[in-house]
């Protein structure tokens, strides 16, 4: 194959590789839960690493026979991709059974089925890419650039396809890409080597493509795993799918069935004057219920009198409201009916906003009911920036936090302080928290309010907070002004009428409280619950410690980490401590579902460490002779190669993940951030790699320049990015995307250099070193993703960026290039 054809095939295989990885993230979010996408990424990089290992063990053999391998791998990859899809679809893995202390063993086989199905795909992809690196090692900067640009194209293509195709049908795009590689390579092979093998490959590829497309496109899009809520909902009598949509953000269904009600926390004492909450639609994403969705204007709003969220409207009548989340549009109507004078409603993510807007137009086309509180798709940060807008009541809906992971930004310490500053005198911030399983998230929110008030100069936060609850939901109210004795008296009477429990108010005497909804104290660490003949309120006991004058157990001593989340560590639902892993595993069945992602990341770290050891030791053991024969005379090439490419593997992914997370705040969408960062980083680093060929004469200097730019950019990310984002978040989205791209461009351009210059310097030593470097880089990239997530929870994203900076700085010392200006002569590669 000509150089041009080889590069073209590399481009297409890279398109396939990243598009398949991105597809898998979407698929796993639908077929399992989105936390498992980290595992997917690790599987991908695992396969790439082993591809490099195989090449390291026999580089001469692969170089001699590279044309045959380049011919045979694409159809094999086609077959492997089809087999992978079939195994994915048929895999009976149940992540909930994995957490069951009796049934978990039955899931081990299913886990291995994922490895069996996916490993060959990524192994073959990694082998192909590594083989091209090996064959064209004399021009690594350009070769690596083509790889990166192909990956960028793959991400772009598959993300665009997600707007048109259901996740189960996305592999059809990838199969076409792979077929194009097969055709391209076969055409070249036929010209040089004759018809038999080439024709056979073409025929096999055509057969695979046909069968694969049939298998993929015939998959039912209503095939929902039986552990997902939607599975049983679809079977309910008279249930109807009222709407559906696909996007990179999810596979959405609107359900009309008689189990769908307004997500409102209600009294249990329905008198004659309190109706039941109204029927709604249910909005489901990837098989899980996200929120209720407005179905029609309720004929009877009397249920609001029994609603937990109604109290602020009682003590602050006719407020100007800011609604964060609308429970599918219901909150807008309810707020108007509760007497709101005016306001603004914000809904995130954009997909949910779209559904809500559509329903509002349908049921209230003349805006008779909703004109007073118009709906916008924006985050509170963009609206409240500059503290210009003021509200009497800022009300968070019960679904807002859980309906999208990106909404966690709205519950950081900085966000809560912003809300409090945006209140008028006497204004109230109202936040509901689910306490149906454990009350720890309620305590974390209380801590956040406490810290936010302290940060605003309030010396006695306890006088600025009210807390009351049902059995399943706690409502927290906060104000910059003290709640008055009249407010407290109203609360006590109002709650008593409705059998709500008052868990905190200024001056509360726990001994005198009559508890309606028993909530016994639980020691998660000891696995004990305190029983009593009298109803208890564990939430009250803990709120007294947090908000009272006699403060109790410091946060650091609690089993769960209840420190407020911040802009540096924004995940509200991450309360697990690394020091408590053993107990968490022992209580796996009962820990909140939100915390499973943390444990998954730990498991992936464990897996990655084992694999990194294999990648490091296997070539050294089996191929040591080959490596040693080609090692540089004197010097420490092997350790340098190891540390250099391991640092790059860590550092590149640390930076990429930190950018995705931070820009998800700026772009108000984790999906958009992922797409922008992925495409931006890959494109610009590809260009940077291409440009790095100019430094072949002095690679070390080229590296140092690149690292200097990376370091400066990372310092800006740590100190300057947050203020910049807060200042610009009010800009239109298109401008913000441009700002994000402009931020990424110089950093990404520089990021393309180290790998390109490092590998191009290896060509002068040994063919074995290039695929080994590729394998090391892949193995440590596997480790980087879960490690970055764990670090972000434990210490925050800024530390992840600092570590990336340190890692790139070490590359100046570990750079393996000693023979400057010497390019490998490769007689088998035409120019």
């Amino acid at each position: 194959m000509s150089r041009r054809q080889t590069l073209a095939s590399l481009f297409l295989v890279s398109v396939f590789g990243l598009s398949f990885e991105t597809f898998l993230s979407r698929f796993f979010a639908l077929a399992l839960f989105s936390d498992y996408s980290y595992w997917v990424i690790s599987l991908a990089l695992l396969g790439y690493s082993f591809g490099g290992v195989i090449l390291t063990l026999a580089p001469e053999h692969f170089r001699r026979n590279h044309e045959r391998y380049l011919l045979l791998i694409p159809p094999l990859l086609l077959g492997a991709a089809i087999l992978a899809f079939a195994l994915l679809r048929g895999n009976p893995f149940n992540p909930l059974e994995l957490q069951n202390e009796v049934l978990w063993k039955t899931q081990i086989g299913a886990i291995f089925l994922y490895y069996a199905g996916l490993f060959p795909v990524f192994f073959l992809t990694g082998t192909y890419i590594g083989l091209v690196f090996l064959v064209l090692s004399d021009d690594m900067p350009r070769v690596y650039a083509v790889d990166l640009l192909g990956a960028a194209a793959g991400a772009t293509v598959i993300l665009a396809a997600m707007f048109l195709l259901h996740p189960y049908h996305l592999p059809s795009v990838m199969l076409v890409v792979l077929s194009a590689v097969a055709v391209l390579n076969t055409a070249s092979f036929l010209k040089r080597h004759g018809a038999a093998l080439g024709t056979g490959v073409l025929a096999a590829s055509a057969a695979f493509l046909g069968f694969g497309l049939y298998l993929v496109l015939s998959t039912s899009t209503f095939s929902i795993p039986d552990f997902k809520k939607l599975h049983s909902i679809l079977g309910i009598k008279d249930a109807v799918v009222a709407g559906s949509r696909v996007s990179p953000g999810g596979s959405w269904l609107t359900m009309d069935d008689y189990t769908e009600f307004d997500d409102v926390s209600m009294t249990n004492n329905y008198g004659a004057d309190v109706a039941a909450p109204p029927r709604t639609y249910g909005l489901y994403r990837d098989g899980q219920r996200v929120t209720s969705l407005l179905r029609q204007v309720p004929s009877d709003f009397s249920y609001l009198k029994g609603s937990l969220a109604d109290f602020p409207y009682v003590i602050r009548p006719h407020p100007r409201v800011l609604l964060l989340g609308t429970n599918g549009g219901m909150k807008i109507l309810e707020s108007v009916k509760s007497g709101a004078a005016s306001g603004i409603a914000l809904e995130q993510p954009r997909d949910v906003y779209g559904f809500v807007q559509e329903r509002l137009k349908r049921v209230d086309p003349g805006l008779a009911m909703t004109a007073a509180i118009p709906l916008r798709s924006a985050s509170a940060f963009s609206l409240l920036q500059g503290d210009r807008q003021k509200f009497d009541l800022i009300e968070v809906s019960s679904n807002f936090l859980s309906q999208d992971s990106n909404n966690a930004w709205s519950f950081t310490l900085e966000a809560v302080q912003m809300y409090l500053r945006s209140l008028t005198p006497g204004g109230i911030l109202s936040i509901p928290v689910d306490i149906s399983e454990l009350d720890v998230y309620g305590l974390k929110m209380a801590n956040t309010l406490d810290a936010a008030l302290h940060g605003l100069g309030v010396s006695d936060p306890g006088r600025h907070v009210l807390a009351y609850r049902t059995a399943w939901t706690c409502q927290l109210l906060a104000s910059r002004d003290r709640f008055t004795p009249q407010d407290v008296k109203s609360l006590v009477a109002w709650c008593s009428d409705r059998s709500f429990d008052t868990s905190w108010y200024p001056g509360i005497d726990p001994a005198s409280i009559n508890v309606w909804n028993d909530l016994p104290p639980v020691s998660f660490e000891q696995g004990e619950v305190q029983t009593s003949d009298k109803a208890q309120d564990a939430l009250m006991n803990d709120l007294v410690r947090i908000l009272g004058t006699d403060r109790g157990l410091p946060l650091v001593d609690r089993f769960f980490n209840l420190e407020p989340s911040t802009m540096n560590s924004p995940d509200f639902f991450s309360i697990s401590r690394l020091s408590q892993v053993r107990t968490l595993l022992a209580r796996l069945a009962v820990i909140p579902e939100h915390e499973i992602g943390y444990l998954l990341n730990l498991a992936v770290v464990g897996q990655a460490l084992v694999l990194a050891a294999i990648v490091l030791l296997l070539p050294l053991g089996a191929g040591r002779k080959a490596l040693r024969e080609h090692s540089v005379r004197g010097g420490l090439v092997l350790p340098k190669v190891f540390f250099y490419f391991a640092a790059l593997g860590f550092g590149f992914f640390f930076i990429e993940l930190a950018l995705v997370k931070k820009l998800s705040f700026f772009l108000e969408s984790s999906t958009l951030s992922f797409a922008t960062v992925l495409a931006g980083v890959l494109v610009f680093s590809g260009l940077g790699s291409w440009r790095a060929s100019r430094h072949q004469g002095n690679r070390r200097r080229g590296l140092v320049q690149g690292v200097a730019v990376i370091a400066a950019s990372l310092v800006f990310l740590i100190f300057g990015l947050d203020p910049l984002m807060r200042a610009c978040i009010g800009l239109p989205l298109a401008f913000r995307i441009l700002v994000a791209v402009a931020l990424m461009a110089p950093l990404s351009f520089a990021l393309g250099r180290p790998f390109a210059l490092g590998t191009s310097s290896l060509g002068g030593y040994s063919d074995s070193l290039i695929p080994w470097a590729w394998a090391i880089n892949g193995a440590f990239s596997v480790l980087a993703t879960p490690l970055a997530n764990i670090l972000s929870v434990t210490t925050g994203w800024n530390l992840v960026i600092v570590l990336a900076l340190a890692l790139y700085a070490t590359t100046v010392l570990s750079f393996p290039g000693a023979r400057q200006g010497a390019a490998a002569v490769n007689p088998t590669t035409p120019r």
Binding site: I236, K237, Y258, E437, S499, T549, L553, A589
Partner: protein, 286 residues
């Protein structure tokens, strides 16, 4: 016909009538043939269940009852004899069937340790320890009338029916409910009434309401119709949590004033301790 012949015919007719009658009505010993007949009568294929696998399952039954008894003693002080009798009488293997795949799992009945079983359409047969706990928690009495929202396999309703006066059950998933409603009659459980429909409105036709309500289908709030149909002094039990995972039990009771109280029962997840849980002494304020 001679007297001898007529006596023979009469005896034969009686024997045939006895053989055809539902099992429970006669209190026959529960054997493989009874099981197979009942399965067929309910429209289900016994599948891989044979005499041998049936006997093996039965050999585990004593351990199953012992485990239930031990749990009830630990958590309630003494095992309710009515609950124990019900678990002895109701053949669990008869309910271990996946209605979506048609797979019979009865040969695994009385498994140790107890586990959940998929019965199709997203539904799960809860493990027997949890079911025994919920049954005991409900404190069923022979004068009670019970309502279950979420029939599932029908096992829980069947257990309750052996104790209470009448057991009503509603399944919201059509495919499941239409099949499960056929399983009670072959066992002779005449005091169970089932339907497929919207359980959140309860069973308003039952006058006087219910002493016991079990709600296994989740809602964001306790449906007011169910609270309205709960008698004063009655008990409503609502498990919260995902399938295959241990669940939190909520018990709602209605006092004489008609006000509702709730109790969160986590004894199935955490060891119950009376008295103060040890916590460090308070620290100085900020």
């Amino acid at each position: 016909m001679s007297p001898r012949m007529s006596s023979f015919v009469i005896c034969a007719l009686v024997i045939c009538a006895l053989a055809a009658a539902p099992l429970g009505a006669q209190k026959h010993a529960w054997e493989f043939t009874s099981y197979a007949n009942a399965m067929s009568s309910s429209g289900r294929d016994p599948g891989s269940m044979s005499q041998g696998s049936f006997d093996i399952a039965q050999s585990r039954k004593q351990k199953y009852l012992d485990d239930i008894r031990a749990m009830l003693t630990r958590d309630f002080g003494t095992p309710d004899p009515a609950v124990m009798r019900a678990f002895e009488e109701v053949p669990r293997e008869y309910y271990m069937y996946n209605y979506e795949t048609g797979r019979n799992m009865g040969q695994s009945a009385y498994e140790v340790p107890a586990q959940e079983w998929k019965i199709g359409y997203g539904s799960v047969l809860t493990d027997y320890v949890m079911q025994a706990y919920m049954t005991a928690k409900a404190k069923p009495k022979p004068t009670d009338v019970s309502l279950e929202i979420g029939t599932g396999s029908g096992f829980q309703s069947s257990i309750l029916s052996r104790i209470v006066k009448k057991a009503y059950t509603i399944e919201i998933i059509t495919s499941l409910g239409d099949k499960v409603k056929n399983i009670f009659a072959p066992l002779g459980f005449q005091n169970i009434e089932s339907r497929v429909g919207d359980g959140f409105y309860g069973w308003p036709e039952v006058e006087g309401g219910f002493d016991i309500i079990l709600v296994t289908a989740q809602a964001p709030f306790v449906p007011p119709a169910l609270l309205a149909q709960l008698k004063k002094g009655g008990r409503m039990i609502v498990p919260i949590g995902q399938p295959w995972k241990p669940q939190y039990l909520y018990m709602f009771t209605k006092d004489e004033q008609g006000k509702v109280h709730s109790q969160r029962d986590v004894a199935t997840l955490f060891i119950p301790m009376t008295g103060q849980i040890q916590t460090p002494p308070p620290r100085p304020s900020r």
